[in-house]
């Protein structure tokens, strides 16, 4: 399950996507919008994606983590304007044991941040806004 969506993320659906009778360990990561960044009060963040490529790379990130660990992955990434506390990303990994589940989950969120064409514009309490620095592609 790979999802890039304007709708609220649904952790239960991602959990269900990686559950299996042989999976004893499920690891999850959720990213949430924080109220501060580098000393500035944040009220919201807009997530923008280059959509078809972002979906393709999300699927690659999941497939690479699956190949490296044997775990099953599901990833959902939010787009649009999110308020403080809303979930921007949810990664779920299911595996027979916890070691692989943790490793797959951590690997996927790290790779995702490096490679998926998504950008964040922070909106500050003082009315200003700014795009965040990121990782160069290619």
């Amino acid at each position: 399950m790979i999802l890039l969506t304007d709708a609220r993320l649904d952790p239960a659906a991602l959990q269900a996507a990686v559950a299996a009778p042989g999976h004893g360990g499920l690891a999850f990561f959720a990213g949430a919008v924080r109220d501060r960044h580098e000393g500035k009060a944040v009220v919201a963040v807009t997530y923008e994606a280059f959509r078809p490529l972002a979906e393709k790379i999300l699927a690659e990130v999941a497939a690479e983590a699956e190949a490296a660990t044997g775990a099953k992955l599901a990833i959902a990434h939010r787009t649009g304007r999110l308020k403080v506390g809303e979930l921007s990303v949810f990664v779920a990994a299911g595996a027979p044991h916890r070691g692989e589940a943790f490793e797959a989950c951590r690997r996927a969120i790290d790779t995702l941040k490096d490679r998926v064409p998504v950008w964040k514009k922070e909106h500050y309490a003082d009315g200003t806004s700014g795009w965040l620095e990121g990782c160069t592609l290619g």
């Binding site: 990213g31 997530y47 923008e48 994606a49 280059f50 078809p52 490529l53 972002a54 393709k56 990434h77 921007s88 990303v89 969120i109 995702l112 941040k113 490096d114 490679r115 998926v116 064409p117 998504v118 950008w119 964040k120 514009k121 795009w131 965040l132 620095e133 990121g134 990782c135 160069t136 592609l137 290619g138």
Partner: protein, 94 residues
């Protein structure tokens, strides 16, 4: 005649719409620009032409890459003759 217009499309520069993402939209050029792209134009050449268009704002392009809907192109790759083109600044998902 179809064969001639096809040849023209392959060998002559075409005006292509190039989408801009993230901070590149702060250059004052909106969310896309139109650029002339020839059959032998590389990704690096397209990005240099875009830098000229950005003018004083060209610093925004630092670290950006040209991409299609299915891949990020290397600097030396030829710009494909059809399909969506997008310039992507450094990414920041998650």
């Amino acid at each position: 005649m179809p064969s001639i217009s096809l040849k023209a499309a392959i060998t002559n520069p075409m005006t292509r719409r190039v989408e801009l993402y993230g901070r590149l939209r702060d250059a004052g050029l909106g969310d896309a620009v139109e650029l002339e792209v020839g059959p032998k134009t590389t990704a690096a050449e397209l990005l240099r032409e875009l830098a000229r268009r950005f003018g004083a704002a060209k610093g925004l392009l630092e670290g950006s890459a040209l991409a299609t809907e299915s891949e990020v192109l290397n600097a030396s790759a030829l710009v494909p003759a059809s399909g969506v083109l997008a310039v992507l600044p450094p990414v920041c998902g998650g």
